[in-house]
């Protein structure tokens, strides 16, 4: 059972993510964002729910579609937006842009532009926790496409054989850019692969906060008990293209609309919370409004932030301090 507080937290985070992403999309269309962004719209339940069970000292690594995880792991919207715009006030001083956002103070070991690149890093963080004898856990977020990378298999095997406190969360949104999973992946449910590595595997509705929460709780318990990793597959869907500007010839408008209208994670949670009398509509409206406001403020902050000074170019290649 999820506490009210936590449910509200999750709802809040989902909305923040949604507003942030849509705002970023708008800025991109207004040509105010360089490069491209990979938007998480529609997948918010996974990041929000998983991270609701994590503390600041727990670790995550994420993907090129990482704004959601970043925000869910405690990032401030303004600094995140500033980073998207490459400003000096961004989380990474404008060096990383969208795909490498990190905040080590909140255990976010970074989004990763290389598909699967972050998986072994999360394994390493879990290894550190084990060596230290602490009760920290690590979560590796990755997509269905990454589950076909060699590094996925190496990482699962390594984590399993060493019984590391890590949860592998696969966000299966049905596509690897334009390639549907049935075309690229030998199995229908990616969670099946857990068997190959002697760990429990679950497939859940990735747009159902409560379903995710249930398995995630179990997985964390298992990890903290020193029993090793778990693979959780969350089946979800992204409303927007792979990247901003993706013309999406590979799916139909009807399909997208179906998910938006009938399976939207935020709508569903709102409905359930109201049905179960967890909170009031006003409260939820308030959360939604504030989320939108915050996203707007973040955009303003980012737009008004300075560019990084070119003289700082060579800083931080190496750590030179004591």
């Amino acid at each position: 059972m999820i506490s009210t507080e936590r449910q509200l937290w999750i709802y809040d985070v989902m909305n923040k993510i949604r507003c942030f992403e849509l705002k970023a999309f708008q800025l991109f269309q207004e040509n105010k964002l360089r490069g491209s962004v990979h938007l998480y719209v529609g997948e918010e339940a996974v990041a929000a729910t998983v991270c609701s069970l994590l503390r600041d000292e727990d670790y995550i690594t994420s993907t090129h579609r990482g704004h959601g995880h970043c925000i869910a792991k405690g990032a401030q919207l303004d600094k995140a937006m500033a980073e998207l715009m490459g400003k000096a006030t961004g989380y990474c001083k404008g060096r990383s842009g969208s795909m490498h956002i990190a905040d080590f103070t909140k255990g976010n070991l970074g989004a990763n532009a290389i598909v699967g690149g972050g998986i072994p890093i999360a394994v390493g963080a879990a290894l550190a926790a084990k060596l230290r004898g602490s009760d920290q856990v690590a979560v590796s977020f990755f997509g269905d496409g990454a589950s076909n990378q060699g590094i996925f298999h190496e990482s699962l095997n390594l984590a399993a054989v060493w019984k590391l406190p890590i949860i592998f969360v696969c966000e299966n949104n049905g596509f690897g850019i334009s390639v549907p999973t049935w075309q690229s992946t030998a199995v229908e449910d990616i969670s099946v692969r857990a068997q190959g590595y002697n760990m429990p595997g679950y497939t859940v509705d990735g747009n159902d906060v409560y379903a995710i929460y249930e398995v995630m709780e179990k997985a964390i318990e298992r990890a903290k008990a020193g029993l090793g990793p778990t693979l959780i597959e969350c089946k979800t869907y992204r409303y927007l293209g792979h990247w901003t500007g993706d013309p999406q010839p590979y799916r139909t408008r009807e399909e997208i609309e179906d998910w938006k209208q009938n399976r939207d994670p935020i709508k569903r949670m709102r409905k359930r919370m109201l049905e179960e009398g967890v909170t009031t509509a006003e409260k939820l409206d308030e959360i939604e409004r504030l989320a939108l406001e915050e996203a707007e403020k973040a955009a303003e902050f980012a737009l008004n932030s300075p560019e990084p000074d070119p003289s700082t170019l060579m800083e931080d290649v190496f750590y030179e301090g004591v």
Binding site: D103, G117, P120, L127, L131, S155, L158
Partner: protein, 326 residues
């Protein structure tokens, strides 16, 4: 001072550092009971246990990635790769993750990771197990590159590497492991990075060499001394950071430079040194800087062919004389 092999020098430093700092641990293939196929971790598991001396599956990418993650999460991992040729299997984790994480994350992370292993010719290991790959890691920014040529250098530089808060690529040489050297016993003996070593003083020609080629260059220098040619041999020890100043000072004195390495000649690190020296010491040059390196072919198994593919002492002698127009 003790007399010990290059491999033991390395082993002893790993042990001393693991004693000193419980965050230091080492993982790699066959490093536990076997003690590493070259003995660099012999019996360490007996003292430190199998948590801190970990055998890994054959998963170079995952091991290196785990090293990056553990370093990000506050540990000080040493990853042993059995052959540095296998860095190719883990390239994304080394060049994209380890090298870039600190910078790309705005300086927030420290990645105190050492990736160490051996490379080079000498055991008939053929094309995919005999390469010299240090040049590649000099090229992509974000990694320190260390190549010790003696037991003492290995000890002093490895300690510095382990205590460095940055990712360090530490290249040992398979043919040096069983060679005995004088090694200081001081558990604080450290050689700073970015400090080249003049292994032999001379006045006519500067020869820059690393790893196995330091001893070959010294051999060539002996031969040339008999002909009245005085050769100065410099071992850069670390390619990143590079101590160019010592080499410049030497070339200003001698006017002539030969760089010899086991890595392939084309786009090898010798070309970088030659170019930098030409830029920094052009008016002092009496001849164009020359580079010797392996030929542009994969290294063959047959010893005669392997010798033909790699620079020999004769070649160094000839190159030195060429800079003297002899």
């Amino acid at each position: 001072m003790s007399i010990k092999t290059y491999a033991m020098a390395i082993r002893d430093v790993i042990a001393e550092e693991m004693r000193r700092d419980e965050r230091v641990f080492i993982m790699g293939e066959d490093i536990e009971t076997l003690g590493g196929i070259f003995g660099c971790t012999r019996d360490l598991y007996k003292e430190f246990g199998t948590e801190r001396v970990r055998n890994t599956p054959i998963s170079e990418a995952a091991i290196v990635g785990a090293g990056v993650g553990a370093a990000c999460a506050g540990m000080r991992p040493i990853v042993e790769l059995m052959y540095m040729d296998f860095t190719f299997v883990a390239m994304d984790q080394i060049l994209n993750q380890a090298a870039k994480t600190r910078y790309v994350f705005g300086g927030k992370a420290k990645i105190p990771l050492v990736i160490r292993g051996q490379q080079g010719i000498g055991r008939g290991n053929a094309a995919t197990h005999s390469q010299s790959v240090e040049t590649i890691f000099m090229h992509i920014p974000g990694l320190k590159v260390v190549c010790p040529s003696t037991g003492a250098d290995a000890a002093g530089l490895l300690r510095t590497a382990i205590r460095d808060d940055n990712p360090v690529m530490f290249f040992e040489h398979k043919a040096l492991y069983s060679v005995k050297f004088e090694v200081p016993d001081d558990p604080e003996f450290m050689i700073p990075f970015g400090q080249a070593d003049v292994k032999r003083e001379g006045s006519d020609v500067t020869v820059v060499a690393n790893l196995l080629y330091v001893s070959r260059a010294l051999e060539a220098a002996e031969r040339l001394a008999e002909e009245g040619i005085s050769v100065e041999v410099i071992d850069p020890r670390t390619l990143v950071p590079l101590d160019l100043e010592t080499i410049v000072k030497s070339v200003k004195k001698t006017g002539r430079l030969v760089v010899v390495h086991e890595a392939h000649r084309t786009a090898g690190w010798g070309a970088e040194i030659a170019a930098q020296i030409t830029e920094e010491a052009f008016p002092y040059l009496d001849a164009p800087p020359l580079r010797l390196g392996a030929k542009a072919c994969p290294l063959p198994f047959n010893l005669g062919l392997e010798n033909a593919a790699t620079p020999q002492v004769d070649d160094i002698v000839k190159a030195v004389k060429a800079t003297l127009y002899r």
